[in-house]
Amino acid sequence: MSGTNDEELRQHFGALREVELARVRSFAELSRRPATLGRTRPTRGARWVLAGGLGAMAAAALLHVHMQRRHEATWRSAAAAISSWTPPSDALLEVSDRALVGGPATLGASVLDALMPPSREY
């Protein structure tokens, strides 16, 4: 069973109130001064950490740009290779139709034999 009653609690709180509110900075002072969040300020070490962090971020950005450019160059060369590719049958386009149908037809031979490289033999 507790021996401290409400009245005693009130007296304790009253005492605490008196002690704490004995000196309070004025309202004018506290409502005018600009707020400073936290009373911590970075030391020299913290500045180095910040500078290091910024440097790392810059390096990462440069690396990213470099990688992107390399990627683009690879794509560009691949695209160039595709656009310069020509099918083997293009040779037919450079031959006049007269050369193609000029000679007499022979059994077992084709007019293309003279134009295209020999393929597999059976």
């Binding site: 507790s2 401290t4 109130r17 707020a35 009373r39």
Partner: protein
């Protein structure tokens, strides 16, 4: 309520507000002043608006509580990021001899120690009721909790506080 009226209201409650701010900052005077200043500026700049749903005191106490919570969160984040590289600039330290003249100093000290051992909610309700003279319902409003919950915190906190004070006396 215009700016002049707001200022007048705040000024009339200034001591009370400081006492509540102290309670929200675990009795740290520097933090309490900082919180109070932030809260005043929030009210005067119109970032916190009084809508008249409760008494002005209850409302402004709520603003102070939320401001203290915000400051605590920011401090925690800052500590997480810069703990090793930041040093705290202390305000003037409280000299015990300054308070020696106060007759009830021992009583206040014992209460401070006992309050430290209560839960945050219990401490808050008891502070608002016994220190600021609010009702439990008003305390619930300030703390943003239900009345039933506030009553429970009040009863349990009071019993525990009485036990702690008794134990200190022995």
């Amino acid at each position: 309520m215009n700016d002049a009226e707001l200022r007048a209201q705040l000024e009339s409650l200034h001591s009370e507000c400081f006492g509540w701010s102290l309670a929200c900052c675990r009795r740290d005077r520097d933090d309490a002043e900082e919180v109070l200043q932030m809260a005043y500026l929030a009210v005067l700049d119109g970032r916190a608006r009084f809508d008249g749903r409760s008494s002005f005191r209850t409302w402004v106490f709520g603003v102070i509580r939320l401001t203290a919570a915000t400051l605590r969160r920011r401090r925690w984040l800052r500590r997480l990021l810069l703990d090793r590289h930041a040093h705290r600039v202390h305000g003037p330290t409280e000299h015990p001899s300054l308070e020696a003249a106060v007759i009830d100093r021992d009583r206040a000290e014992r209460l401070r120690r006992a309050l430290d051992r209560l839960s945050e909610r219990q401490r808050g309700v008891l502070q608002l009721v016994f220190y600021h003279g609010l009702t439990v319902d008003e305390a619930a409003e300030v703390l943003g909790i239900g009345v039933g919950s506030a009553r429970t915190h009040y009863a349990r906190g009071k019993a525990r506080l009485a036990d702690l004070l008794d134990a200190e006396r022995r």
